[in-house]
Symmetry: C2
Subunit: 427 residues, 2 copies
């Protein structure tokens, strides 16, 4: 007798909801013990894990997946070490659960404040990257949540192996084996079921390509902590320090091209363009960055002897494109207001930076640019849970509600109100 | 030429999005000035407002609405005074916008923290209660948000009158008149459009009956701050102080029957039942509260001489019913674990209280009961923005993400990350 996918997922959801109550009440030492046991088990079963992973790798090669795909799927010795270290790092973080905030006495006599508690059940949907299985499980265990992990089906054998390690470690410390469940079915309908059972799942975190996130956001009836585009801007103000401007704008674009916090559009105040753009664009050219420019930018660069042929005319689509590649769009603006208007119109509310020595301009940019991270005189590449000191990161949220920006352990918790009384009644 | 409702709503949404940038950057003094001007204008045009309201009232009577409906629609002199006072109270609250939290230096040299900022555009859907128009507008203005208000169509004339007052007051202080828009169409399709334009609306707050909230939650593609059932419990522990237990359990049920934070189910530890229940149930009986009881409760009460006929046998449906009426379900439990299991299974995660002198039991209940408000030795009726010191309340949220429990000004804001650097780059 076979069960439908939907029934299977409902059973998983129900088990997760039940486990979530036990996970929520787990002590810090118990949770840390579980994390360290998983780390130990991974290191001790390195060979067997490698064998499981080898099955996935050979199937992926047969299926014709490209080298980058196979690379993400592979659990090299280094990747296995990194998983164990990640677990140890999360174990070393402070436990967010149970923190009590700002208990205040009210005129009625009651004392009111808030307590940080787990969200409950977290569903995580991700690609065929078995290391994400461990990263995600670690953060959910530490934050006292039950979790349902749905990794890409190409990582099936690796994930099943890891699932068994996690379950037995949870059991060893007296936590429910169902505290972390890894969806075994390779049927894609499992995702559709997972994101539409609000009775069992409190939040969905999709990690992966844009099409996955869009599909999940559109179809989910469970709230989604999502990351959409990262169309990040650096605005070089008229009163910028030129050396800082060049250092930051270079780093924001070229330190790595693929991350979501890499700059895609450079805005430059007209009055400083002739000073800063030729030097900066020479650097970009040397690094092989394609430049897509507005007419005014072209004029400035050609006046400084840039060959017209290396400059491409930007089209309106360039202002709304996340290249994730060595391509940069450049636009001159009158000043701060026009820069902020551009960001409001074309940006994706991810990460934007201003380079300026003017305090008032810096503070206006900080306050008025409505993005999850707003920076003064720093590279957009810093928008990251580790760089921000969260200790770990489940992803970056471009939501406005709940967690915004890099999401660490606190983003997997909520605050409930708590009241201490001594028999007070309302009159 | 007529426009479709959908086009009309898109135009309203676009205007709100544009206004939201100006509302977000408004100064505290400017926002307070707007609120006080609206208050003054309401008091000065008391007669004309009364005339507009009279049109709504007479139409409502002709349409056959009941007395309670007409009462909620009516703007009596007292209601008009209360609206003006509400505006003055919100003006007196601290401005939540711009608050900077916990800026910390990181090893890279950057300084990272968070800034409280408005959500953007808030859509509020509510019944034919014109006073809510003012309450909601006040909170949104103060929190720097643009807002789209969609009140019940029976309050059309009152709301249009208030809309004009608000718009001119905003204009007087240099804020955009579109900062607060009141949907004029009486077409119900307006709601459907409002809740499905995430490009223009950041959050929807439905205020009203359960069917409205369920419809909005189901159909919205914009995040919803929602309030579902309030099935609130009081658990009288074996180690309760009897006097506190009786005082609180009486108040939690009988101070008012209709509010969402009124107790609907009383749980009593078996060992204390014979001591506490007869006295408490006599009070309930005297106040005309219908008692629906489990078999063990019946046994205890009958042994104490309660006539069997005044006790009704509880059915399973009683544990999941929000009576909002002088009806109470009562169940005996073994102790703390069974009480918490009952609340987890049948409760609505709204507000639950324990009465106990035992510290460990109190702390376990606080930590493990997963509700938006959890209390020790206090009446559930305290779950309220004013009682909690929020100064005002847009509603109570039973969501787990973002605002949970009573939602005040902070619930209408979000935290973005801010970074101060001096030219730092990522390596």
């Amino acid at each position: 007798m076979t069960h439908s996918i939907s029934d299977q997922m409902l059973a998983i959801g129900k088990a997760a909801r039940e486990a979530s109550r036990l996970m929520a009440r787990a002590g810090s030492a118990q949770k840390n013990d579980a994390l360290l046991r998983i780390a130990k088990a991974i290191l001790q079963s390195r060979d067997a894990l490698g064998d499981a992973n080898a099955k996935d790798l050979s199937a992926a090669r047969v299926a014709g997946h490209d080298a980058a795909f196979v690379d993400r799927l592979a659990l090299s010795d280094k990747a296995i070490d990194a998983m164990a270290e990640g677990l140890q790092q999360v174990a070393a973080l402070a436990d967010p659960v149970g923190e009590i905030l700002s208990m205040k006495r009210r005129p009625s006599g009651i004392q009111v404040g808030q307590m940080r508690v787990p969200l409950g059940v977290i569903g995580i949907i991700y690609e065929s990257r078995p290391n994400v299985t461990i990263d995600a499980a670690a953060l959910c265990i530490k934050s006292g949540n039950a979790t349902i992990l749905r990794g890409g089906s190409e990582a099936f054998h690796s994930n099943q192996f890891l699932a068994a390690l996690i379950a037995s470690s949870l059991r060893d410390v007296g936590l429910p084996a169902h505290g972390v469940q890894i969806v075994a079915t390779q049927d894609r309908a499992a995702v559709g079921a997972l994101i539409t059972m609000p009775q069992y799942v409190d939040v969905i975190v999709p990690r992966g390509g844009k099409s996955l996130i869009e599909r999940v956001s559109k179809e989910a009836t469970v709230p989604v902590i999502k990351h959409l585009d990262g169309i990040c801007h650096v605005y070089i103000d008229a009163q910028a320090d030129i050396e800082k401007a060049i250092r930051v704008a270079d780093n924001a674009k070229t330190q790595r091209y693929a991350p979501c916090n890499t700059m895609e559009t450079l805005l430059v105040a007209s009055s400083i363009a002739a000073t800063v753009l030729p030097r900066l664009c020479t650097i970009y050219q040397d690094k092989g960055v394609e430049l897509r420019v507005c007419p005014a930018t072209r004029q400035v660069l050609e006046a400084e002897g840039f060959p017209p042929s290396v400059l491409i005319d930007a089209t309106p689509a360039d202002w709304t494109t996340e290249y994730l590649a060595p391509i940069l769009s450049i636009r001159l603006v009158e000043g701060l207001d026009e820069a902020m208007a551009h960001i409001a119109q074309y940006g994706s509310a991810h990460t934007d930076a201003i380079i300026t020595e003017n305090h008032s301009s810096a503070m206006r940019f900080l306050r008025e640019v409505d993005s999850s991270s707003v920076m003064v005189n720093a590279s957009t590449r810093f928008a990251d849970g580790f760089e921000y000191g969260l200790g770990a990161e489940i992803g970056i949220s471009t939501n406005k509600l709940h967690a915004r920006g890099p999401v660490g352990l606190e983003g997997l918790t909520s605050l409930k109100y708590i009241v201490f009384g001594s028999g007070e009644i309302r009159t």
